[in-house]
């Protein structure tokens, strides 16, 4: 059974929580006691109907203010697959959470209120999906019941959105448009009689059939070493295993491999998953391997096939999103975490900041504030085997940590 990771995004009150609540309800994923708790909570808030957003707004502060502050994770199954929804808030000040939720997504779900069409947040959401190279964006044009299920309105919004998508300079996700009413359930789990002009499938059908696994196993092999296993007991006296999770590509027994940054080479002897020996490991798998020769390898090193060696670089251009209240300062030292390695790093230059609404590039900035997205140049103390994000997502991303507060302050996607 595979897993589809979905990121949802929308503006305030465009019906996102209602949509998720509906999906859970219609797939029998919400139990009686949770429904009863919801009824009670809705009554306490003085509302006559079931407020499904109370299901996902798990924090006291969220329920008090009636808004979603933080990323919530929601799980459900259908006969086809397991779904994990990262439900992210639509407020401007929470862009960083939207990026967090979308970072692992196979699909981004963007909601648009049919009465209002494309709004400021729509630009931001699409830009983030494009920046993170989310393969598919499903655009749900919601509240169709409030515009008499008008085909014309749906087509106009679709055309506006396609224009917006063309204007974004970067990765172009596959776009799917669907007219829905999350309140009444139209086109959610079955096709609605109200939209005979709509030729596509229901939302659930679309989500069940989208390709979940990106073909990362076809990319070049990248294995960050996480942990060295040395049991030192009688049975495994000389055992020296290198444990990790393969970011991309494939590794097989007998493959010639190179360790970075040292550049030394050997062959794979064994691939172990617990007591089970593998002939070949593919992207996503956690395992332990042994090598034919004893090389000096430790956590933070990267192992790759000898004919797939990446460039090891210490200066590169990246798109960075700033996540913290304390601004990014150029030439301040941060810790950069890439794979399992950490090294000191500085942003030496901010080339431009992206204005997501007007697609402008704002130049000559010395600092970045929270939620800013910018193209920067970085320099690292240790050279890194980093790929361009567009070529290899898992090995093209990194985070920045403030050494004094230990907070995760930025996320970067390597551009070159």
């Amino acid at each position: 059974m595979d897993v589809l990771r979905i990121a949802t995004a929308g503006s305030v009150d465009d019906g996102k929580s209602t949509l998720i609540g509906r999906l859970l309800f219609e797939t029998n994923s919400i139990t009686k006691d949770k429904l009863e708790a919801l009824e009670k909570a809705s009554q306490r808030k003085g509302i006559g109907f079931l407020d499904l957003s109370l299901l996902t707004d798990g924090l006291i502060a969220e329920r008090e203010q009636g808004i979603t502050i933080d990323v919530a994770h929601i799980y459900f199954n259908t006969p086809k697959r397991k779904f994990i929804i990262a439900d992210t808030p639509g407020h401007v000040e929470y862009t960083r959470n939207m990026i967090t939720g979308a970072s692992k997504a196979n699909v981004s779900l963007i909601l648009i209120d049919a009465r209002h069409g494309i709004v400021e947040q729509t630009y931001r959401h699409f830009l983030i999906a494009s920046l993170l190279c989310v393969p598919t964006v499903v655009v749900c044009i919601n509240k169709m019941d409030l515009v008499a299920f008008s085909e014309k309105i749906f087509n106009n919004i679709q055309a506006d959105f396609e224009n917006l998508a063309t204007s974004v300079d970067g990765f172009k996700p596959q776009l799917i448009f669907i007219p829905i009413s999350s309140l009444l359930g139209d086109n959610l789990t079955s096709l609605s009689l109200q939209t005979p002009w709509y030729t596509g499938h229901s939302l659930l059908h679309i989500l069940e059939h989208i390709q979940a696994v990106e073909p990362v196993s076809k990319k070049e092999s990248r294995l960050p070493i996480q942990y060295v296993i040395r049991p030192r007991n009688e049975r495994f006296h000389d055992f020296r295993g290198y444990a990790g999770r393969l970011l991309s590509g494939r590794l097989a027994v007998g493959d010639p491999v190179t360790v970075l940054p040292s550049g030394r080479s050997t062959r794979i002897n064994k691939l172990l998953q617990y007591t089970h020996e593998l002939q070949e490991a593919v992207a996503g798998q956690s395992f332990t391997l042994t090598l034919e020769d004893d090389l000096d390898i430790s956590r933070g090193d990267m192992l790759v096939k000898s004919d797939e060696v990446p460039k090891v670089i210490s200066e590169f251009k990246s798109d960075v999103c700033w996540l913290h209240q304390q601004p990014l300062l150029t030439n301040k030292t941060y810790l950069l975490q890439h794979g399992t390695s950490r090294t000191k790093a500085k942003v030496t230059h901010i080339q431009y900041v992206v204005d997501p609404i007007f697609q402008r590039k704002i130049e000559s900035r010395e600092t970045l504030g929270m939620n800013d997205i910018a193209r920067v140049i970085l320099r690292t103390a240790k050279p890194l085997p980093i790929d361009p994000y567009r070529v290899n997502k898992a090995n093209g991303s990194f985070i920045l940590i403030d050494e004094t507060t230990n907070q995760t302050v930025g996320v970067g996607l390597n551009a070159l």
Partner: protein
């Protein structure tokens, strides 16, 4: 029925093992919080796999309320022996005797809340900088908001509004002295995922998960297990019923479920058909809508 729901998504295991190895690599003194329940049993198996053929490089910590099911304790001691791990027991009774906490009184008295004090004491005494737990996000709505590496301050508190963003698979475990991190490797698993994993891995479980006959108290439509430390007034009668437990906590806060499921297969069928959620049998969550968030803010698991 529903054969498709009985397959465990293996990528969840790869993710959990990755998280456990990150905890081992990023911290100096991690520990596994072991309750004897199915989630922590799953966690121990994952840790075994993560470090094979080496041993699990951290101890198991059991916060013992003294109100345990006997079957859980037997199982715990067998498991510790079987995996060759060290066991550290934090006794709630010790904290009661020392006057650090006061026992609740009355019909709904439970030692559930008192555990937090014992847990924080053990963390401090052993200088643990990371505690791995079997909590899952699908259990409860406050848990749905918690990070995989969840930083706790000097007082063990969770600050829900000031959490580090977790992007891609990056885990940032850097902390100040005195702080510690709760690590949740099976965050993204559901109850059904855990049961399917237990079935596929053929993990033995404490017997109370399976249907058995037990004398219980029926109170407000809930079946309570009985032991001499459980409150019972003179009018209440013990009735023998066929039951099992869906979650395993302290005896004073875990309700029994009428059930005839005596194999893992039957339990999985029962869960797929269930109309009540897993924590619907946990009386500790029912105290208020925000019971879990409030306990976490105070340092709970």
């Amino acid at each position: 029925m529903n054969e498709y729901l009985k397959e465990f998504p293996r990528e969840l295991e790869d993710e959990a093992i990755y998280i456990i190895r990150e905890a081992a690599a990023q911290f100096e003194r991690p520990a596994i919080l072991f309750s004897g329940g199915k989630d922590s049993i799953t966690l121990v198996r994952l840790a075994q796999k993560a470090f094979y053929p080496g041993k699990i490089p951290f101890p198991l910590v059991h916060i013992d309320t003294g109100h345990n099911f006997e079957e859980t304790i037997l199982y715990r001691d067998w498991l510790v022996e079987n995996v060759g791990a060290d066991l550290i027991i934090g006794s709630v009774q010790d904290d009661i005797n020392a006057g650090r906490v006061t026992e609740e009184q009355g019909k709904f008295a439970s030692r559930n809340a008192l555990q937090t004090v014992t847990l924080l004491r053990i963390i401090e005494e052993h200088k643990f900088d990371a505690c791995l737990g079997g909590a899952r996000r699908d259990e409860e709505k406050a848990r749905a908001k918690e990070r995989i590496f969840s930083v706790r301050n000097d007082f063990g508190q969770w600050d829900s509004k000031n959490q580090r963003p977790e992007l891609f698979d990056f885990l940032n475990g850097r902390i100040q002295p005195g702080e510690n991190v709760r690590v949740f490797p099976i965050s993204n698993w559901t109850e059904l995922d855990v049961w399917n994993y237990i079935r596929e891995e053929e993990l033995p479980l404490p017997s109370i998960y399976f249907a058995h006959e037990r004398a219980v108290l029926e109170r407000d439509g809930v079946l309570w297990p009985y032991a001499d430390f459980v409150y019972k007034d003179s009018k209440e009668k013990l009735i023998p019923r066929q039951v099992r437990f869906r979650t395993v906590g302290d005896m004073s806060c875990t309700a029994a479920l009428p059930s005839s499921a005596s194999t893992i297969e039957e339990i999985i069928e029962e869960i797929i058909a269930a109309t009540v959620s897993e924590r619907g049998t946990r009386l500790d969550d029912k105290r208020s809508e925000a019971a879990m968030e409030q306990r976490k803010t105070n340092g709970y698991f």
